[in-house]
């Protein structure tokens, strides 16, 4: 597109900056991605400043205000903007604190899955042979189970709870990273720059981590973003089924679970936590789409 206009402008600056500029150029073409990023930043800020923003502590119960409707509805008051839940807790405050859990879940799960996936994928793609076969057969096996079912069973073994749920989800999402890295490593391994590094005397570890890996990053970043939103969804699903974060943790899925029996009486206890999940996941998926456009040269609109 306007790459030719940018190139001379950035000619004097260091390479990294040019890269970032090009990246932002392609990323910002996608309006949805920019909106997603904006919403995501707002969410991070909300999560960080939850104690300042939230009108109440997430577990404070007001025994005079069970199932109070949101402010704009008959019977609601500005005291509880989004209403209260069946035990009189302020839903807005719980949602704000819940953002911390969702973002934490995403970050921890992606970190775990990335670390595991990169290690296994690098080993499989670099060494091939029986290492490759062994690792990839195990990955196939994990993918043979529906992800939520496997996560459920793992949590049954590990015991319910937020941390175990994160571990289980990370394990379930990890094969996608391993497959990606392996494929990328195999494609890169015979390239000239790798051969050159090898001839120059680079060891296995250096070749794997310093030479090959940085050139496989683009698909990993995209997959990482998608896994971030997947992790939030799956953790919420586990929480909803009663096997993730345990009450009274203000995790959004757990909040939905405890609101379930009131759906026909109090729509707000069900609507808002789910809406929070949807908005978060949607924002991250929008970013993911934008990243794919910006990082994948094949899909770039030239």
């Amino acid at each position: 597109m306007s790459q030719t206009e940018i190139a001379p402008m950035a000619a004097g600056s260091p390479d990294r900056l040019t890269g970032l500029k090009t990246f932002w150029h392609y990323f910002s073409v996608n309006r949805g991605a920019v909106i997603g990023l904006f919403v995501f930043i707002l969410l991070v800020l909300a999560a960080l400043s939850a104690p300042l923003l939230a009108p109440y502590a997430p577990d404070v119960q007001d025994k005079t205000a069970f199932l109070r409707p949101p402010a704009w509805q008959q019977g609601g008051s500005t005291q509880y903007l989004l209403g209260t839940d069946p035990v009189g807790r302020d839903i807005l405050s719980r949602l704000l604190y819940g953002a911390r859990f969702s973002l934490l879940i995403g970050a921890v799960v992606v970190t775990l899955a990335l670390t595991g996936g990169i290690t296994l994928g690098l080993l499989a793609g670099y060494f091939r042979g029986w290492v490759d076969v062994a690792i990839m057969r195990v990955m196939d096996l994990i993918l043979a189970f529906p992800s939520l079912l496997l996560a459920l069973v793992l949590v049954t073994i590990l015991g319910p709870g937020l941390f175990n749920a994160m571990l289980a989800i990370a394990l379930v999402l990890q094969p996608h990273f391993a497959r990606l890295v392996r494929a990328a490593v195999m494609a890169e391994k015979s390239r000239e720059y790798v051969v050159a590094a090898k001839v120059a005397g680079a060891g296995h570890l250096r070749l794997m981590l310093a030479t090959i890996l940085p050139n496989c990053l683009a698909p990993l970043i995209v997959q990482g973003t998608l896994s971030f939103s997947n992790a939030i969804l799956e953790a919420a699903a586990l929480g909803f089924l009663g096997l993730g974060a345990q009450p009274p943790t203000p995790e959004w899925g757990t909040m939905l679970a405890s609101a379930r029996e009131f759906i026909l009486r109090a729509w707000w206890v069900v609507t808002f936590p789910g809406l929070a999940i949807l908005i978060t996941v949607l924002a991250i998926n929008l970013i993911g789409d934008g990243l794919r456009d910006a990082l994948d040269p094949k899909l770039r609109r030239s």
Binding site: L141, A144, L148, I157, S229, L233, L243, N285
Partner: protein, 335 residues
């Protein structure tokens, strides 16, 4: 073709072995003693404990236990449910048609809307329709379906009162299953009111379960179609003066459907995972709800065998997709 299939079968063997190892290991990985875990909250008397230990073979070396387990599974013995005292396979057989029916209608819903919408969006690329469809698809793809189900219940069952909240069919209807599909069985018996009841129970769960596949299929169809529409043979077909409908419907669509079929096949795992949530919300008596209930009842024999059976189904479906893929795409066969 035969070689391709044999190769596919050969690749299945390690997965098959792995699946049985996972199911076998599950009971043994549970915290605490496997027999006590399987006995549930009531516990067992010491004499009965020894008896059970013998019966399940927990006193044997681990590899012998595994061989025994595989032998049992291979002969169709999946154990007896602790809570219902019925053979697990029998329970599975009565519950699976419910999941199958739900998944089938969810998939029909997803394909009937997703494929035409994707084609139309590709043909009218960049239009108002295209943009709003892709936006909607992304929302659908990001949807926490357990919440989506609750919302639909609030609106259609609670507010409008159109559909029942849970179950598969009105309690007043009872008939011996023929196919196991309530919608088909009720028609076979010629009971129209039962059919209506079954259908009204089915609509919401099918929509909920079909939402993510619908979003994925619409996106995939659109991008596959866009790719194909830029190909030379499509231009040639256009240049020959063929009607737009023929070019799109025959020349482009046939090739665009190849990746779509794969996508549909890959959605089976998603469907079964989604069935766990959908069935729980709508109290739909299928295998997803069965698994969740069994986990909470600590009926680990059911969980173990359910895990195995579900993995086998996913594997079988993936194999069918691979075969179908080879049938519609000759290039694969040669490779």
């Amino acid at each position: 073709m035969l070689r391709y299939l044999l190769n596919k079968f050969a690749l299945l063997i390690p997965t098959l072995v792995g699946i049985t190892i996972c199911a076998f290991a599950f009971v043994r990985l549970l915290p605490g003693d496997p027999i006590l875990a399987m006995a549930g909250e009531h516990g067992v008397a010491p004499a009965r404990y020894e008896e059970l230990k013998q019966q399940f073979g927990f006193n044997l070396p681990i590899w012998e236990q595994y061989a025994r387990y595989v032998g049992e599974v291979a002969t169709g013995d999946f154990g007896v449910s602790i809570s219902s005292k019925r053979p697990v396979l029998e329970e599975f057989k009565t519950l699976f048609p419910a999941t199958l029916e739900l998944s089938f209608f969810a998939m029909v819903f997803a394909m009937v809307i997703g494929i035409p919408a994707g084609i139309f969006a590709a043909v009218k690329r960049g239009s108002w329709f295209d943009q709003s469809l892709m936006g909607t698809a992304l929302v659908g793809y990001s949807m926490p379906i357990f919440w989506w189900g609750l919302l639909l219940i609030i609106f259609f069952s609670g507010y409008l009162g159109w559909t029942p909240v849970s179950g598969r069919i009105g309690l007043q209807f009872f008939f011996k299953p023929i196919t196991g599909f309530m919608t088909i069985d009720s028609l076979l018996y010629g009971k129209w009111d039962a059919f209506r009841s079954a259908l009204s129970h089915l609509v919401l769960p099918a929509i909920v379960l079909g939402t993510i596949p619908l979003a994925v299929i619409a996106r995939q169809t659109r991008s596959a179609m866009l790719e194909v529409l830029g190909e030379d043979y499509v231009r040639t077909a256009r240049a020959k003066g063929l009607s737009a409908a023929r070019v799109i419907g025959v020349h482009a669509l046939r090739n665009a459907l190849i990746p779509v079929v794969t996508t549909i096949g890959l959605q089976v795992g998603t469907l079964l995972a989604g069935a766990i949530l959908t069935e729980t919300i709508f109290a739909w008596p299928g295998i997803g709800k069965w698994m969740v209930d069994s986990i909470f009842k600590r009926d680990y024999v059911v969980v173990q065998s359910g895990l195995l059976l579900i993995a086998l189904i996913v594997m079988a479906v993936n194999l069918i997709v691979d075969v179908l893929y080879a049938v519609i795409n000759p290039r694969i066969r040669a490779a």
